[in-house]
C-alpha cells in the first residue's frame, strides 16, 4: 500500500496541480469546438436567428410596411419617381397585374412585393421566425415523446414494450405526408380542446404538433434499441447484481447514455422538421395565412415564378442555407459525442 502511494506520488511532475480527468461531456465539447466546419455552421445559424429576430423592428422602423395586410394601391418612390406596387400588366390582353420586383434597396421592397403587394423581405424575416420556432418546438416535442416512449419500452420490456413497439410500427409505416395531410385536413379549420388546452384553427401549434408526432418512431426506435443493449451491458448487470434499485439504474446508468443520443438528434431533427414544415406550408396545410413561414412564401411566389421569381427563390435559399448549417453542425455534434454511432438521418 505504502509503496504504491509513493509510486503514484513520484509519477506526478513536481509542482503540478492534480488535474481531474476531463469528463465525457467536456471532451465532447472540446472536440466540437475544434471542428471548424461545425463552428462556422453554428455561427451562420446564429446569424440567421438574430437576423430574423429583428423582423418587427425591420418592418416598423426600416421598411415602414405592414407585412400581414395587403397593399394593392400603394406607391413607392424610386429615383424620385412614383411607382405603383402592383402594376397593370402590359403584356398580352393587358389583364392581370404584376407586383413590383426587387428594388435592392434595404429601405423598401428589397426583394419586391408578392401578389398582395406585401413586402417580401419583411415577410421573409417574420416567416423565418415562424419556421425556426416550428422546427425547434416540434423537435423538442418529438424528442421528449420519443425519449419517454423509447426508454419506457426498452427498460420495462414485456407487454409495455409490445404495445408501444406495435404503435411505433404503425406510425412508422404510415407515409409521413399522408399522415400529416390526414391530420391537417381534419384539424386545420377546427379548434381542438384537450382539457385546459385550447388550440385554435390556424394556430402555429398545429404544425408543431403534427410534425412533432410523425417523426416520433424515427427517434424512439433507436432509443429503445439503445436502452435494450444498455440493459444487457456489463455495468448495468453489475449494478443489478449489487442490488441497486432499478429507478437508480435508470437515472444513473441509462438516462445519461440516452441523453447523448437525444442531443445528437437535436440539430438533425431540426433540419428535417424545417424541411417538413416548409413542405406542409407549401401544401397549405402548415402555417395559415395571413401568417407567414418560408414555405408559405414559396407558395405565394408560385404564381409569380416566371415574372417575379425572387418571391419564391429567396425563402427557398433561406431554407436551404439554414438546413445546411443544421446538418453540418449536426454532423459535428455526432462526431464529437458519438463517433462510432450509426445514427443517420436523411431529409425527406
Amino acid at each position: 500500500m505504502a509503496a504504491s502511494e509513493t509510486l503514484i506520488r513520484t509519477t506526478e511532475p513536481v509542482g503540478a496541480q492534480r488535474r481531474p480527468a476531463a469528463g465525457p461531456w467536456a471532451t465532447a465539447f472540446r472536440k466540437l469546438v475544434r471542428d471548424r466546419a461545425a463552428m462556422a455552421a453554428l455561427f451562420v445559424f446564429i446569424l440567421i436567428v438574430i437576423g430574423c429576430s429583428f423582423a418587427s423592428y425591420y418592418a416598423s422602423s426600416i421598411a415602414h410596411t405592414l407585412p400581414f395586410s395587403s397593399n394593392l394601391d400603394g406607391t413607392i418612390t424610386i429615383d424620385g419617381q412614383d411607382q405603383p406596387i402592383i402594376e397593370e400588366s402590359t403584356e398580352g390582353l393587358g389583364l392581370g397585374t404584376t407586383p413590383i420586383g426587387p428594388t435592392w434597396n434595404w429601405r423598401t421592397y428589397f426583394l419586391g412585393a408578392d401578389e398582395q403587394g406585401r413586402d417580401v423581405m419583411a415577410r421573409m424575416l417574420y416567416g423565418g421566425l415562424n419556421s425556426l420556432w416550428i422546427a425547434s418546438a416540434s423537435t423538442v416535442l418529438c424528442l421528449l415523446l420519443a425519449g419517454v416512449i423509447g426508454v419506457t419500452a426498452g427498460f420495462f420490456g414485456g407487454i409495455v414494450d409490445g404495445v408501444l413497439s406495435r404503435i411505433m410500427d404503425v406510425i412508422w409505416a404510415f407515409p409521413i405526408f399522408l399522415l400529416a395531410i390526414s391530420l391537417s385536413i381534419v384539424l386545420i379549420n377546427s379548434s381542438i380542446n384537450i382539457g385546459p388546452i385550447v388550440i385554435r384553427g390556424g394556430s402555429l401549434w398545429l404544425p408543431i404538433f403534427i410534425i412533432g408526432i410523425v417523426y416520433v418512431p424515427y427517434v424512439a426506435r433507436p432509443i429503445r434499441g439503445q436502452v435494450l443493449s444498455l440493459k444487457n451491458s456489463e455495468f448495468v448487470l453489475a449494478a443489478v447484481g449489487l442490488g441497486v434499485p432499478s429507478h437508480r439504474i435508470l437515472w444513473k446508468d441509462i438516462l445519461p447514455n440516452v441523453a447523448t443520443t437525444l442531443i445528437v438528434f437535436v440539430p438533425l431533427m431540426m433540419a428535417l422538421n424545417m424541411v417538413t414544415e416548409s413542405a406542409l406550408s407549401f401544401l397549405s396545410i402548415g402555417v395559415q395565412p395571413p401568417d407567414a413561414s418560408w414555405g408559405t412564401i414559396i407558395q405565394d411566389g408560385q404564381n409569380l415564378l416566371y415574372s417575379r421569381p425572387m418571391v419564391a427563390l429567396a425563402p427557398g435559399i433561406a431554407i436551404a442555407v439554414t438546413v445546411l448549417t443544421l446538418n453540418v453542425f449536426g454532423d459535428g455534434v455526432r462526431d464529437a459525442l458519438d463517433p462510432r454511432s450509426k445514427l443517420r438521418i436523411g431529409g425527406d
Binding site: 409505416a173 409521413i176 405526408f177 390526414s182 385536413i185 414559396i298 431554407i319 438546413v323 446538418n327 453540418v328
Partner: protein
Amino acid sequence: MLNTLIRRLIQMIFVMFGISVIVFLIFFATPGSDPSARIAGRNASPEVLAAVRKDFGFDRPLYVQYGLMMKKLLITFDLTSFQNRGQKVIPQLVEATPVTLSLVIGGAVLWVIGGIAVGLAAAATRNSVIDRGLMILGLIGISMPVFWLGEVLNLITQSRFHDTWMFSWVPALGYKPLLESPWEWFKTMLIPWISLAILYIGLYGRVLRASLIEAGEEDYIRTARSKGLTETRVMLRHALRTSLITFVTLFGLDFGDLVGGGALLTEVVFGLQGVGKLTYDALRSLDLPVILASVIYASFFVVGANFVVDMAYAILDPRVRGR
C-alpha cells in the same frame, strides 16, 4: 425461413389494420365537426348529408362504421366523391398510378446510378478535395426542399433558359403516356426525375461512402489487398458488394415511401397527374373520400413494400433468417 415469412406476414396485416384504424379515427371520430359534413364537402344540401349519414352508418356504432368504410374501400370499391359529382374514387386512383410509377421508377434509376457513382468516387478519393467537394454537394442536395428545387428547375428550363439551345427541347409541363410516345414521355419526365433524384443521390452517396470506408477496415478487405488485387478490384468486387446490402434496404424503404405519397410534392410542382397530385387537388377542394382512399391504398402499398424488402433482406443475409 417459412417461420420468418409467416411471422412477418402476421405483423404486416397487423400494421395495415392499425393504419386503417388510425385513418378511421382521424377522419370519422375526431371531435369537432360532423363526419358526414366532412365527407360530403362544402355547401352540401341536407339531403346529401342525410344520405351520407345513412350510407356510412354514422348513426350506428363505431365498429359498424369502420366495417362500412373498409367495405367501400376494399370490397365494393364504390367510394364516391361528392365534390366531384359522384365520381367513383378508386378508378381515379388506378388511372393516376402509372404517372406516379413513371416518376418514381425513373428517379430511382437516376439516384441509384448517381448515388453509387458519388459514393465510390468519394470513398476512393477519401479526404481529398474531390471527396470533400462531393460530400458538400451531397449535403446541399439533402438540404434543399424538393418542391423548391423543382420550381427552380422549372424557372430555368421553362422560362429563363427555355429559348436557348440548352433547354429548348423541354416540353411544357404535364404528363405524356409512355405507350403513346416513349420519346415524348422521356422528355417530359427527365427534369422531374432529376429534381426527385438529387436529394437521394446526396443521401445515398453519403451512406455508401461511410459504409465503404467502414468495410475498408475489415479483415477480408485486408486479405484481398494482401493477395495483390488492384485497388479498383478490391473496391468494386469486395467492398462494394457488402456495402450494397445497406443500400438495397434503404432503397426499398425509400422507393415504397415515394410511391406511397412521398412523390406528392414533385408531382404538384411539375403538374403530373399522379396519385400525389390527385391527393393534393382533393386537399384543396376538401374532397375527403379521395384523400381517404389514397391514404389507405398508399400506406398499404408502403407496408407491402417494406414486407418485400424484409423478405429480400432475409434471403440476401443468412444471419437474419435465424432470428
